[in-house]
Each structure stands twice: as structure tokens, then as C-alpha cells.
């Protein structure tokens, strides 16, 4: 049953995970991505750089985050439920692990400014905070729809010194924000550092972001063994671009642990009603990578819907497309409704308000628990839901 592979062999030198990945960027960006890859490889192999990064993860981000046993949820589901608490990380989500790593890399490379995109605003807040901490100005592109539904995060980014630029064209969500960040980067590839927020984009980003997010799964693997005396049956995470999921999954790939990614099923399975890219997508090229996409038969990328801004994206990280294709991970969907129910349940039973994104993982885990009674489940609680008050209000009023 278990798929055996040397998982560290991916990506290959050309940035491919099997047939997915690569580097589909404008020629203007080629020198920049080649240099980024070289500098990143050097930095990640440099003990001084990694010590500085780990030191800041500990003393500034607050790592390791706890792996919390969830007793009342366990009872309600008839399972043994553990939560990897990225909601307790500085700025409120896993995004900071990557943003801090890239900000340190930007400083090491002598970048004059940082540009980023954001969906839910969590990557934007994390980048703003990390850039403030390392002392580089930053600009964040954010879809106008998301500016509205994640308003608290816009204010936070501004307080942290970032310039937030709303993107009104295209789908006015994460895809349009990435389009615009790429356009910005291409005008100044030599002194601007593009701090990409998920395991998407051209090589080396899917690899680089995974390396910075792996801390999540490494900690969880140690913690579960210490606290529960063994590995879990399954690890579950929500998948937008897929960074919290890849961070949690990757250190478990070489075990027998089942791996379950949860995608947003939105309001139904019609094209445009969801953002279930692995479950429903087809191979295509967007934002620098060959991956799975939600697209029409003519290769036009379609708009998506999800109640969560951070999962509302028509592409997905190429490594997820690969894990799905080789059968090492399973990807399922939950609807807006199921996610919002799970969010309420976690509030009620565990006293934790998760991000709407993370709530998808809970809904998916609950379904798994039903068909696997007694299972030991580790859920990635990728972020906290303080930012989601506008979405929760709109949901109640619908």
C-alpha cells in the first residue's frame, strides 16, 4: 500500500516533482530565479544562516508550537485528536515560518525591497512583520475582494509598515495578486526580492517554501512520539497553495502514516463554485509552474470560490500534484458549510477559534474519524481566526 520513494530526490535539478513543477517565467526573471536558487542553496547549507533562522523561530516566532491533545473533540469524534498549533505562532499562522526565512534570505542577498502577494492576509502580515524585523521595506499585493473580507489583516500590515496595494482586476483574489506581484518583480528583478507565500511558483519556490515550512512536520513528528508514544494514523491539513500541508506532510512521507489534504469544495462541484484543484484540476501552466489547474478546455484559468480567502486559488503547489499522482497523499474536499460547522465545533469544544482555512482541515478530519473509529489524527491548525470576523459575520447573515 505504502508508496516507497526517495522523497528527498524531489525536486530534480530542473525543479520538477515527477512531471510537475519547472520554471515558466519571463526571460527577464530568469537571472533572478537562477540567482535565488543558488543563494538559497548556499544559505540553507550555511550553519550560521540556519542558526540565526532557528534562533529567531524560537525567540521571535515562539517555536516550537505545541501539539495539543483535543480531549473533547476526541470524545465527540470517537478518535484521538491532536492539533499542531500554528495559530499560536507569531502573527497567527504558519506563514511566518516561510516569511521569516525568506526575509533573512532577502537581507543576505542585499535586496533593497520585498514584494509579496497575499490571499487571507496572513502571508502579508507575516512578510510585513519579518521585513520590519530585518529592516527592508515591503509592498503587498492583495485582491480587492480579499481586502474587504480580511480587513483586520490589512490594518495589521499597514501598522507593520507594509504598503498594501489592492488589485481590482482579474478575479480580484489571490490569483490576481500573484499576477500583479510577478509584474512588479519583473520591473526590478535585481534589487527586489519576491517573497512568495506558498509552495507554488517557479523553481526554486516550491522547494524553498517547503524547506522553511518543514519545521511544522518535524516538530509534530517528534511531539506525537513523545506525547502519544507512536506515530499517528493520519496527518490532515488544508490545501490552498499547499504550504502548511507540505510543511506538515513532508517529514511523514517516509512513514506509513496516511496523508490527507483537504481542499475547499466551496458551494458545489460546478466549475467556478470551488477551488478543489487537485481533486478537479487538469495539468496546466500558471504562475511559473506546470501543475494542476482549474481551467476551461481552452487553457483559460477560471475563477474559483471558497468562503476562505487563503484557499481560494485555481492552482496548487506542484509537489501536491505529484504526491496525488503517485498515490502517496489523498486529497478530498469539504464544502464552505462543512468548514464553518467545524469551525464552530472547535470553538465550542476546545476553546480555539481557527482560521476559516484551517477549519477545512477539521471538517476533513472529522469525516476521516467517522470512517476510522479510534484513529490517531494529527490536524494542522494552520492559523487563528481573529482575521475572519468579517467572514463569520457575513456567513451568519447570509
Amino acid at each position: 500500500m505504502k508508496v516507497q520513494m526517495d522523497w528527498e530526490a524531489f525536486p530534480d535539478e530542473r525543479g520538477y516533482f515527477g512531471r510537475f513543477g519547472g520554471r515558466f517565467v519571463a526571460e527577464t526573471l530568469m537571472p533572478a530565479v537562477i540567482r535565488l536558487e543558488e543563494e538559497a542553496r548556499e544559505a540553507l547549507a550555511d550553519p550560521d544562516f540556519m542558526d540565526a533562522y532557528r534562533g529567531m523561530l524560537r525567540n521571535w516566532v515562539g517555536r516550537p508550537t505545541p501539539l495539543s491533545h483535543a480531549p473533547r473533540l476526541s470524545e465527540a469524534w470517537g478518535a484521538e485528536v491532536w492539533l499542531k498549533r500554528e495559530d499560536l505562532a507569531h502573527t497567527g499562522a504558519h506563514k511566518i515560518n516561510n516569511a521569516l526565512g525568506q526575509a533573512l534570505l532577502a537581507r543576505r542577498m542585499g535586496a533593497k525591497s520585498v514584494v509579496a502577494e497575499t490571499g487571507a492576509g496572513q502571508h502579508g502580515v507575516a512578510t510585513a512583520a519579518a521585513c520590519a524585523r530585518v529592516g527592508i521595506p515591503c509592498r503587498v499585493y492583495m485582491g480587492a475582494v480579499d481586502v474587504e473580507r480580511q480587513a483586520p489583516n490589512v490594518r495589521r500590515m499597514e501598522l507593520l509598515g507594509a504598503e498594501v496595494v489592492p488589485v481590482t482586476h482579474g478575479d480580484a483574489t489571490l490569483r490576481a495578486a500573484i499576477d500583479e506581484a510577478l509584474r512588479h518583480w519583473v520591473t526590478d528583478p535585481q534589487s527586489t526580492f519576491y517573497c512568495l507565500g506558498s509552495v507554488v511558483g517557479p523553481h526554486p519556490y516550491p522547494w524553498l517554501v517547503r524547506e522553511f515550512q518543514k519545521v511544522l512536520g518535524q516538530e509534530a513528528r517528534e511531539q506525537i512520539q513523545e506525547l502519544a508514544g507512536g506515530l499517528p494514523d493520519v496527518v490532515v491539513a488544508c490545501v490552498g497553495g499547499g504550504s502548511n500541508a507540505m510543511g506538515l506532510f513532508h517529514p511523514f512521507l517516509d512513514t506509513d502514516v496516511e496523508i490527507l489534504g483537504i481542499e475547499p469544495g466551496g458551494r458545489g462541484m460546478g466549475l467556478g463554485d470551488h477551488a478543489a484543484t487537485v481533486a478537479r484540476g487538469t495539468p496546466g501552466i500558471l504562475h511559473g509552474a506546470l501543475t494542476l489547474l482549474l481551467q476551461d478546455p481552452h487553457g483559460q484559468v477560471v475563477e474559483t470560490h471558497s468562503v476562505s480567502a487563503g484557499l481560494d486559488y485555481s492552482g496548487v503547489g506542484p509537489e501536491h500534484a505529484f504526491l496525488a499522482e503517485v498515490g502517496r497523499a489523498i486529497y478530498e474536499t469539504v464544502t464552505d458549510e462543512e468548514a464553518m460547522d467545524a469551525l464552530a465545533e472547535l470553538c465550542r469544544l476546545e476553546g480555539i477559534l481557527p482560521a476559516v482555512e484551517s477549519a477545512h482541515a477539521f471538517a476533513g478530519a472529522r469525516r476521516y474519524a467517522r470512517s476510522n473509529p479510534g484513529a490517531r489524527i494529527v490536524i494542522g491548525c494552520s492559523g487563528r481566526g481573529d482575521k475572519d470576523l468579517p467572514i463569520l459575520q457575513a456567513w451568519e447573515a447570509r
Binding site: A26, E27, T28, D179, H287, L290, G299, V302
Partner: protein, 271 residues
């Protein structure tokens, strides 16, 4: 010898108005409606030296606001790659200049590279401009194109390192080299004084003619390229002109004729 790629190089080296940069307008396919597009294209082909025909895409990350809006409009009218190829195949006569298809990767990927390249010559397509398929990713497409004598145009930019520039412009079957004049997206305005040195550098190594593109808006821009580039590609400014009521043909004539009466500037003073 007479491959479409070679014919494309020839058309650029021997423009309709000798001694001046070849003119290559960028047309977004079907922008002004599906009906009448074929006639429009043919009309432009009689004035232009080559046509860059744009396939609209939902996420044109190399383009500024004007071409983004054009892509959106074309998509709203229902333009697809299949429709474009069908229209080209059914042209009532051969166009008066070679056509180069400009497309982001995904519409081509969805159509299928093999099928596209097998059909291209019958569609009067001499080559392809692929703004998000860099050299490293273009192997499969390039091999198929070569089998059909079609050009895969290399883009080079002001930040392309010298060895890479040499590699990108070494293939004599490459049609032409597309020298991007600005570090950025389409729709800006180029600074002639800044680009001529760069264009000379590209021309110094390239085994195919060099066409400058991005930010070329006026007859003066085109005039300044004389002696530094073999051709000028005009996109956003053309779309804007057509939106303000000119025809493509009129705008292209203006680009040529407005500079014709003026004496060419000495290349030294431009540098």
C-alpha cells in the same frame, strides 16, 4: 532553406520600406469582434513586415494594463486558440507578411503542442513568441517546431547575462531575436537613449535579426531604432490608437511616414 523561419528572418531583413526598421504590429486576435477579424488581419499584413498575433490569456503576467484589458475583451468575445487557427486556415488569400503567434504557455499546452505545430504552417504561422516559456522549458516545443521549419523566437532583455545572450541568439533558424527594451511589462515607454547600446550589444552577437519591443509608441521611437534594430514591435500604443478611432493601417502608416521626411539621426549622438 525556405523554411517559414527563414522566410520570417528574410521579411525582417528586407522590410517593405527599405533602410528602416521592419514594422511588426501586435494584434490581439478577435479584439474588435470575431467577424471581420480576417479582413483586418489581411489589411494590416499588406502594410506590416510581420505580424505578432496575440492569443488572449486569463493571466497575462508579462503585460501592462492595455494588453491585459485587450486580452479580457477578446476572451469575453469568445476568442479561443481553436478559433484563431481556424480563422487563419480559412483566410481568403495568403497574408502579405509572415505571422508570428504570441501566446502564454497554457492555451498552447491545453491545445497540445504536437497538434498545434502540425497545423501551424497551413495557418500561415512562421513562428512563436512564448513569453513564459524560457529556453530551459522549451525543449519539447523547440524540437517539434524545428521538424516543421518553424521559429521559436528567443526573448532577450537588458538583464540577460552575456553568455546567455549568446546562447539565446545562436540558432539561425530562430526567426528573429525579440529584444525586450524595458526591464518590465508591456505598455511603458522606452527611453531611446538607454536602449541603443543594449540593442547594439544584442545585434553584435545575434545570428538572427533583432526586433525591439516593449514601450515603442511613436514614430520617433522607431526612427531612433534605425541602425540599432532590424525591426520594431508595436503593441500597446497600437491598441490605444485603434481605441481612439484610427485604423491599424493608418497608425502604422503614421509610424512610418511621420519619420520619413526627417533626416535619420546620427547613431553616435543617440548613444
Amino acid at each position: 532553406m525556405n523554411s517559414p523561419a527563414r522566410a520570417l528572418s528574410h521579411a525582417i531583413r528586407h522590410p517593405k520600406v527599405p533602410g528602416r526598421p521592419a514594422l511588426m504590429p501586435y494584434l490581439m486576435a478577435g479584439l474588435h469582434g470575431l467577424d471581420g477579424f480576417a479582413e483586418r488581419l489581411l489589411e494590416v499584413s499588406d502594410v506590416a513586415d510581420a505580424i505578432e498575433l496575440g492569443v488572449p490569456f486569463s493571466d497575462p503576467t508579462a503585460d501592462g494594463p492595455v494588453i491585459q484589458a485587450a486580452a479580457r475583451r477578446a476572451l469575453e468575445q469568445g476568442v479561443t486558440l481553436s478559433w484563431i487557427l481556424q480563422t487563419l486556415r480559412g483566410l481568403p488569400r495568403a497574408p502579405g507578411c509572415p505571422i508570428v503567434l504570441m501566446s502564454y504557455a497554457n492555451p498552447l499546452h491545453a491545445y497540445g503542442y504536437e497538434r498545434l505545430l502540425a497545423e501551424a504552417e497551413a495557418c500561415h504561422i512562421a513562428g512563436f513568441i512564448l513569453p513564459d516559456i524560457p529556453w530551459e522549458e522549451s525543449g519539447e516545443f523547440r524540437d517539434l517546431a524545428r521538424d516543421h521549419g518553424l521559429a521559436v523566437i528567443s526573448l532577450v532583455t537588458p538583464v540577460t547575462p552575456p553568455e546567455r545572450l549568446r546562447m539565446l541568439t545562436a540558432d539561425p533558424e530562430g526567426g528573429f531575436a525579440y529584444a525586450v527594451t524595458v526591464t518590465g511589462i508591456t505598455g511603458g515607454s522606452m527611453d531611446a537613449r538607454q536602449v541603443n547600446g543594449y540593442l547594439d550589444r544584442v545585434r553584435g552577437v545575434s545570428r538572427v535579426p533583432v526586433c525591439a519591443g516593449f514601450g515603442i509608441r511613436t514614430a520617433e521611437h522607431v526612427r531612433n531604432l534605425t541602425g540599432h534594430a532590424d525591426g520594431a514591435i508595436v503593441g500597446s500604443a497600437l491598441i490605444e490608437a485603434v481605441d481612439s478611432g484610427l485604423s491599424e493601417k493608418e497608425f502604422l502608416r503614421d509610424l512610418r511616414e511621420k519619420y520619413l521626411p526627417q533626416p535619420p539621426q546620427s547613431t553616435n549622438s543617440v548613444r
